[in-house]
Each structure stands twice: as C-alpha cells, then as structure tokens.
C-alpha cells in the first residue's frame, strides 16, 4: 500500500509558551521545533501498517529549510521518502490554504513517484493552533472520503477498516481507497529513532516542491490572546461544617454553577 503522512512542525508542546510583550505573537525563541504529536501517531500507525502489509511511506510537510530536520526525524522512524513544500510563510495560511497546498504537492509527488497514494494520513489536529481542519479540507479539495479521529486502520477486501473514536465510544467502518484519515492517539507510542536509523536518515535527500503563488486566505488572524490567568480562589472559613457548607453553596449559587 502506498501511504502518505502529512507532517507539521510545531514548537515543543511540553514547553509553556507566552506571548512576546511587544509583538503580541507567541515567543518561540529557544523552543525546540518538533513533529506535531498527532502526526507522529499517524506515522507510527503507517509504519505498523507497512510492516504488516508492505508498501512504502512518504512524508510531506510545508515550511522553511528548518522543517527538513523534522522530516529527517520522520525518515528515522519508518518513512521511506520525504518531500518539503518550500514555503517560509506557511504559518500565515489558513487550514484551507494548507489543504490546497497539500493537494498540489500530492499531485506532484504522485507524478514524481509514478504511482498514486492509497491512504493519506494527517494528525487529527496540531498541538500549536489545533484547528483540526486540514485533513477535512484536504479530503474536500481532493474529492476523497475522510474519516476523522481514527485510532486504527486495517486493510480489508476492497478498502480499509477504520476504528474511529467518538464522544460516546467507537465507530467501526469501512472505506474505499484512496481516502484521507485524521489520526487520534492510539493505545501505543511512536517508536524512538535508533542511532543507526537516525544516521541513515540524515544522509537521505529531501525533495523540494514549490508552493502555490499568491495563495489567499479565507480568514485572517486579528489577535492572539493568552489564556486568562487562573484567579485566586475563595477561602471559606466557617466556624463549623454547617456554616462552611452553607457559605460554599451560596458562593456556587451566585456563580450560577447550579
């Protein structure tokens, strides 16, 4: 099976990020760029699929030269080929623009490799802006079926069987190929790159693709705000339990908790 995994490089999500007081944009200096966690789950799922059923994995990303490092990390944990759409201003595009760019890239990669993709993986969302839309837009742009929040994929006669996580539980369904899936965290962790696989990945070529010129966004970001600081709590000092509980209930009633 020919597998494509769409990768976004994001700032390390284990670091707390604040806004730069002057520019009012996220202060990302010194924050290590990493592969979006949900994309690493997608890549691991693809790698397991490849190991069990054969095929090849291609990864694609959009961004500047520094994104090549993230793509090399992908090459060290299961990807066979990597492509980068060279677009320094990737962050200024809305999810639909990213999906359009990906669609163009996918066409070029398929032409370059001489075969179409059967299954296209995206993370269900990115850990930075978390729009959760790119995979869905990509399906729409490419006129392909999309399944979101998928936690497992398994080839079956004429397509694939998917397990989707929903608010209530799971939904199992089948889809024809090709299709797009967005991946939720499965019950396993991505593998670590080994010294050997990392050294080999560093030597691999990453093919560059061109972006769409003058891509217009359907919306623009007006302002970025930090989440409000947690306000100090209310200390209830009753002389006895009855008083304390009564006061607590009145505080909650005023706050319209009930």
């Amino acid at each position: 099976m020919e597998l494509l995994v769409c990768i976004k490089q994001v700032p390390d999500d284990s670091v707390e990020i604040s806004l730069d007081p002057v520019s009012k944009t996220p202060a990302l200096q010194g924050v290590t760029p990493v592969v979006n966690a949900f994309d690493t789950y997608a890549l691991e799922m693809a790698a397991r699929l490849k190991e069990a059923h054969g095929g090849e994995i291609t990864v694609v990303s959009i961004g500047g030269e520094d994104v090549k490092n993230s793509l090399k990390n992908c090459l060290a944990v299961g990807a066979d080929n990597a492509y980068l759409v060279k677009e320094e201003a990737a962050f200024s595009h809305d999810p639909a623009g990213i999906a359009k760019t990906l669609k163009k890239a996918i066409g070029e990669i398929e032409k370059d490799r001489g075969k179409p993709f059967d299954l296209i993986f995206c993370g269900k969302e990115s850990t930075d802006y978390a729009s959760s839309q790119v995979g869905l837009f990509l399906g729409e742009e490419s006129s392909l079926p999309v399944a979101a929040n998928v936690i497992s994929v398994e080839p079956v006669e004429g397509g694939i069987k998917l397990k989707q996580e929903t608010e209530e539980g799971y939904r199992v369904m089948e889809a024809a190929l090709p299709c797009v899936v967005t991946i939720q965290k499965p019950n396993y962790d991505p593998r670590y790159p080994t010294i050997k696989s990392k050294m080999a990945a560093r030597k691999k070529e990453i093919t560059e693709l061109s972006p769409i010129e003058n891509l217009e966004s359907q919306f623009k970001v007006l302002q970025i705000l930090e989440p409000p600081k947690r306000a100090a709590g209310v200390k209830i000092k009753g002389d006895n339990i009855q008083e304390a509980v009564t006061e607590a209930m009145s505080v909650m009633t005023k706050a319209r908790i009930f």
Binding site: K72, Y192, P193, T194, I195, K198, M199, R202
Partner: protein
C-alpha cells in the same frame, strides 16, 4: 555549556535525551532500590544501539568522533550513572581487541556488540587490584588451545556479557611480561559467574566475580601476542579512563540541575533559597568544577581522535571529574538540606553513584602516580 559536537551528534543528543528522560531516569529509581539489573531498560537501549556507539565505522558503528559519543554518554549518565556505566563498560571490553586484536577478532566482537551484546573486561582479581600484575589466573597452552583457570572479581557486566577480555599469566616467571590477554565468548564451558556485588552505588549495573575452571579456548583467541597482556590492559585503561570521567561529569551535571530546580522551588524566609548569594556561589562553584571536568574529558578524547598521546590527559580527566563529582553531589545534597539526605529525593543517589569513579579503572591515587610519572619522569 556542553561538549562542542557535530550537527549529527546534536541531533542524536536530542533523541538520547528524550529516550533517557522517558525510559531510563524514572524507571531506574526502582532498580537503584532493588539492585536488580534492569534487563528491559537495557533491551530498549540496545534497540537504540547505545552499546555500539564506540564500534568503529568500518565494523558497522555509527562513525562518530569520541567527543560526539561523550556528549551522548554524558546524557545517559545524567539519567542514571549505572546505566551509563553498563553501556560504557561494553566499550571498555571492546578496546583490547581494537588495540591489539586480529581482524577476525575485531569483526567478531563488533558483530556481537551490534547484535546487542555487552562486553566485560576482566583484569582485577581478589589479590590483584592496583597491583594488576599480581594476578594468579593462568593460561596454559595445550596444542591448538589455551586452558584458563582463575577467578576475576568486581567485573562490570560480568553476569550479562556476550564476551569477555581476560588477562591471564602465560609465564609466571616473567611477572607482568608473562601476562597475556584472551577473548572468551559467553557460554564457553568452564566460564561461570560468582557472587554478584551488593553495591553502594551504580546499582543498575551488574558487577560480579567471573570464574574460570579449565576454560578451553582456541589459540586464535589470544589477543595480540603472548606476554603483551599487561601492556594491552594498560593501553585499554589509558583510553577507558576518560570515559569514566565523562560519566562522572554527567553525575555532577545532574547534581547542578537538581540543585537549581529545587533551589528555585524551595521557599524559606519568604523567598526561593536560590536567591541567597551563599547558595548562588555554591552553584557557581559546582558549575566551574563540572565544566572544567567536562572540557578535560573533551581534551583527552580529542587527543585520542588526533592520534596524539593521551595517557596523562586521560588520567587527569578521570581523576578530576570523579573528585569533583563527589564534591558537587555533596553540595547538591547540602542545597536540598534535610530532604537531600532522604532517599525520596534524587541527590543522595548521586553521592553513592559518584564514589566508585574515584576507585575503579585505577584508583585516583594510581591516577596521580600516572600523572606524576608523566611530568617528573622516572
């Protein structure tokens, strides 16, 4: 501050840091208490290929410079010094073969290591510590074989190794010039392991007696020539010492990291204790010592990579790094106050781990003899 390393090593360092943070640091705490060898942790590390870092590129290794490897080993030592010791001791056992072995021996041991096997270097005996030449283990030539008998002690990886480099006397009348070095693979009849040491520190590493009872090996397992064993062992230790300095510097770095994060958190008299200049000076001294030790390690390794002499530099690196690791670990405990003395907190372990580095691979007294001999002359 850190080692100045290649771009690829910086990349690998991130991976090692990530792996050690998740798979080594926390899980090793439990094994520090039990003293059990954490097989599962090591198996994951072997999948990563950590034990093969020192395998030369022509034998399938990663082809990193020694300073590059040091940065990775230090990261392992920051997570757990016993873990780093196990990994590094395998590199130690490779050295006699790489220094004096035949092409076939080199290929064989590198193959074993690449497959996830560890090595053990067997020099010390109950009656032959600093006086390594006083060893009583013998090797007697018998046709196309050697037959070895004796007992080695305090052998790192003794119970878990895939191969052993063992010194034995082939001619007792010649003293150290009658010592030879042999390669013995695990599973050879007559080779067994004895008592496992219940150690003060580096408790996630395996240390035990290695017993040789009529161990018959092919004559082709002689490393180098007969009578060269002592010289090969000394050359091995000359190189290996720097690596012990590297791990010791890692222990010290962990002490600094823990002391700073605790010092920022711990409030006394209304302020984080690190705001006291008295403690800031302590941390500065810890940093001065650790960084100096690290750069001495780097200097000795660079000399090795350049093919220059390194005996004295290696001895200085090991001796200084282990001495300051004790001091820095002790100061880290001091900054933690009463909590530092508790096993609930991470710093008392550092002092226990650090102590052995002043002792093994040549005590620091022996290191000072080596250094003095190098500058005074005989």
């Amino acid at each position: 501050m850190a080692y100045l390393i290649s771009e690829e090593a910086q990349d690998l360092l991130q991976d090692v840091k990530n792996f050690c943070e998740k798979e080594v640091k926390e899980p090793c705490k439990e094994f520090d208490v039990s003293g059990e060898w954490p097989k599962e942790i090591y198996e994951k590390a072997f999948e990563q290929g950590y034990q093969a870092l020192e395998v030369p590129e022509e034998y399938g290794g990663p082809g990193l410079s020694r300073v590059d490897v040091a940065a990775l080993i230090e990261q392992m030592a920051i997570a757990d010094a016993g873990f780093a010791t196990t990994i590094s001791a395998s590199g130690l056992a490779l050295k006699p073969v790489l220094i004096a072995g035949s092409e076939a021996q080199k290929e064989r041991v590198c193959e074993l290591v690449l497959e996830g096997g560890l090595g053990a270097f067997c020099l010390t005996e109950p009656g032959a510590g600093s006086d390594a030449g006083a060893g009583k283990t013998t090797a007697v030539k018998d046709g196309d074989s050697y037959v070895l008998n004796g007992r080695k002690c305090f052998i790192t990886n003794g119970g878990v190794a895939a191969f052993y480099c063992v010194t034995a006397m082939t001619d007792k009348t010649k003293g150290v010039k009658g010592m030879s070095m042999f390669l013995i693979e695990a599973g050879t009849p007559g080779l067994s392991t004895g008592k496992e040491e219940n150690k003060m520190g580096i408790r996630t590493s395996n240390t035990c007696d290695v017993v040789l009872e009529d161990v018959r090996i092919p004559a082709s397992n002689l490393i180098g020539e007969e009578g060269k064993g002592f010289s090969i062992a000394m050359k091995t230790l000359d190189q290996a010492r720097t690596w012990m300095g590297c791990i010791a510097a890692g222990i010290a770095q962990r002490g600094i990291d823990e002391a700073i994060s605790y010092g920022k958190e711990r409030i006394q008299f209304g302020n984080p204790v690190i705001k006291n200049q008295g403690l800031q000076f302590k941390v500065a001294d810890m940093q001065i010592k650790t960084e100096t030790a690290r750069q001495m390690v780097a200097h000795a390794l660079t000399r090795m990579d350049l093919g220059l002499t390194y005996t004295m530099e290696s001895a200085i690196a090991k001796c200084y790094a282990s001495d300051i690791a004790m001091e820095v670990a002790s100061e880290a405990i001091q900054i933690f106050g009463g909590y530092g003395y508790s096993r609930e907190y991470p710093v008392e372990k550092l002092l226990r781990d650090a102590k052995i580095f002043q002792i093994f691979e040549g005590t620091n007294e022996i290191q000072r003899i080596v250094i003095a001999n190098n500058i005074i002359g005989r």
